[in-house]
Symmetry: C2
Subunit: 340 residues, 2 copies
DNA sequence: GCGAGCCGTGTAACCGTTTACACGGGATCA
DNA sequence: TGATCCCGTGTAAACGGTTACACGGCTCGC
């Protein structure tokens, strides 16, 4: 009996129609408008579908409906809790809209981002989510030419070329600095990730410098990893003036800094204070519990999902959205020189 | 001039062809076989493409080529470093093959997995990656009927219904237990994640019980989070016989356990030993550095990508692959009662 | 008993590509 | 000069669905 098992070709609507002695239209209706065809015809069709192991072809369906139901997300990496949490929120909410998420990592490289954006469009993404507001001109050309909805996350900017859904990176950094300054710290080491291609980092650093608070700020750039934080802490401690506080622009870096300080016998916050940025779930449990600036990344994922979903469905771009940040004060910060 | 800007409809090949006074075939060739059409014709076509902002329709292309270049992955969550790292490895390697990754989270629920699997197939996934070897019958029906390549990860099983790429979960748990037992521990608390629907966890626990080493094993189930680990540690310590070691089936749980022990004033490993499972990058930097069993998740992502890519390209299913696990001994384990 | 209306089903056009095949014209060769 | 070949290009048939429209048969009302 041909067509039941083991044949090369995947069965299509026509095969099902033939096997159940109806037209392709009827089969299509059984699948898409179940109430339209009932009784024995319906039974026959369903039986044929089952026997043939028929499954509708996504591309053919997409070409007719004009929709792929695919949203693409471009993130620097998945190997960083901040983006993974964001994507978790994004994917869950997109699923509520019946949209699927295709993920591409860029390694924070604008050219790679452009290449991957093209790949996302090639698989039919109806909308794109990107991180930050620094992009290759090729990326801008590509997306504007194709008139594809793009939402930028991680940084709020009221009139960027794409609608943004993010927080105020300047304010988030200032929150940490003001906290430390308020405690009395004047010699502060800033530990940050790579500045190259990362607008959030650059914005935060410039915000800190522009505050012009009395005292000195010294920057140390580090690879974003616990080890990177360790090494940066070592370098900062080797300077002529030892800082009384470390302001880290990532919780991962702060975790490394805490570790290195502990290893070298410093008491945090008695000898040195440390702040993070992001407020990862684990930051409450490092020792000592990390003072950090909470960035609502999971919520950002949810909001980004809603924004892009409405956009691709209604054609109406979303309004930019600023998400609140807040300082979460824990045990890793205190006044400098508490003994004097 | 109609068709240049602001028209509703997205331009298609025909529009480009009309505008450059060539046939659709020529336009298609400019895009797909650049060397076939050169000179002024080529220029005209490229100009028209540019002016119209033409971008090829993914679905139409897919229907002809018979390929979508999409691979779907089903993972319990993205909000856990172990899966995020896996996906990072997977996505990077898939990109080398020109394949895109669509991600769906299941919350460790087989029914949700089935629903999401259907969604992945509806967007045209050519192959699927799933976690573990516990799946709803609906999932099995769906995937076998549609004859779609499926690779199961996280657990090696020589002749599962799908090819597996993973490690030996029994052996990984035994490694930890043998280590503790070799140090002299007899009263051991096992801290594990939810057993329900999680075959890896169940396999590990049964492996530990089946070893039948002298001494007692007490299980505590916890939600997989640092806080979950804290609470489980509290419960284990409240028992009549206080364990001399905690064997945690996840580094995240172990981190919580370490935190709770420290909070309660226990000295690790002098008073109590702790082991983890996974060996996350951060585990080297918790205090004290965590003894753990290294699971090669990033490598698993790479291998899974290669396996599914070859499968969808050649039609040949991959051989199951067992990845090595190893005990990484650090400072969180030592002999019990070192004083006596 | 006959026309209207409805319901279930079929026919065929269409979606936007790719590509086998056909075709026409210029260069090459005898 | 005419046959041959090649190259660039066009025509049209797929691909696998959805759906507007047509159509035939049934029920119903007058």
């Amino acid at each position: 009996m041909p067509g039941i098992r083991g044949d090369r070709k995947r069965p299509n609507l026509r095969d099902v129609a033939r096997r159940s002695n109806v037209s392709v239209a009827t089969v299509s209706r059984v699948l898409n408008a179940p109430s339209m065809v009932l009784g024995p015809t319906r039974e026959r069709v369903l039986a044929a579908i089952d026997e043939l192991g028929y499954f509708p072809n996504a591309a053919a369906r997409a070409i007719n409906l004009g929709r792929t139901r695919i949203i693409g997300a471009l993130v620097p990496t998945l190997d960083n809790a901040i983006f993974a949490r964001f994507l978790d929120g994004l994917e869950n909410r997109l699923a509520d809209y019946g949209l699927s998420l295709v993920v591409a990592t860029t390694g924070e490289d604008p050219d790679a981002e452009t290449v991957k954006a093209r790949a996302l469009m090639n698989v039919g993404a109806e909308g794109l989510i990107v991180s930050g507001i620094t992009h290759a001109s090729g990326f801008l050309d590509l997306t504007t030419n194709a008139r594809i909805p793009v939402v930028a996350i991680s940084h709020f900017h009221a009139d960027y070329v794409f609608p943004t859904i993010g927080y105020d990176n300047r304010a988030s950094a200032e929150l940490a600095l003001r906290h430390l300054h308020g405690l009395g710290h004047r010699d502060i080491a800033i530990i940050h990730g790579p500045k190259r291609h990362n607008d959030r980092t650059r914005l935060r650093i410039s915000a800190l410098e522009n505050l012009r608070l009395p005292g000195s700020l010294e920057c140390q750039e580090a690879e974003i990893s616990i080890e990177g934080g360790c090494r940066a802490a070592g370098r900062a401690l080797a300077r002529a003036v030892r800082p009384t506080a470390f302001l880290c622009l990532s919780d991962v870096l702060a975790t490394g800094v805490l570790y290195e300080l502990q290893r070298r016998g410093f008491d945090v916050p008695r000898d040195i204070s440390v702040t993070g940025m992001e407020d990862l779930p684990s930051s409450e449990f490092v020792f000592p519990a990390l003072t950090s600036v909470r960035l609502p990344v999971a919520d950002m994922g949810t909001r980004a999902a809603e924004a892009i979903a409405n956009w691709v469905e209604s054609g109406q771009p979303p309004d930019p959205l600023k998400l609140p940040v807040e300082l979460v004060s824990r045990s890793s910060t205190g006044p400098p020189f508490p003994d004097r």
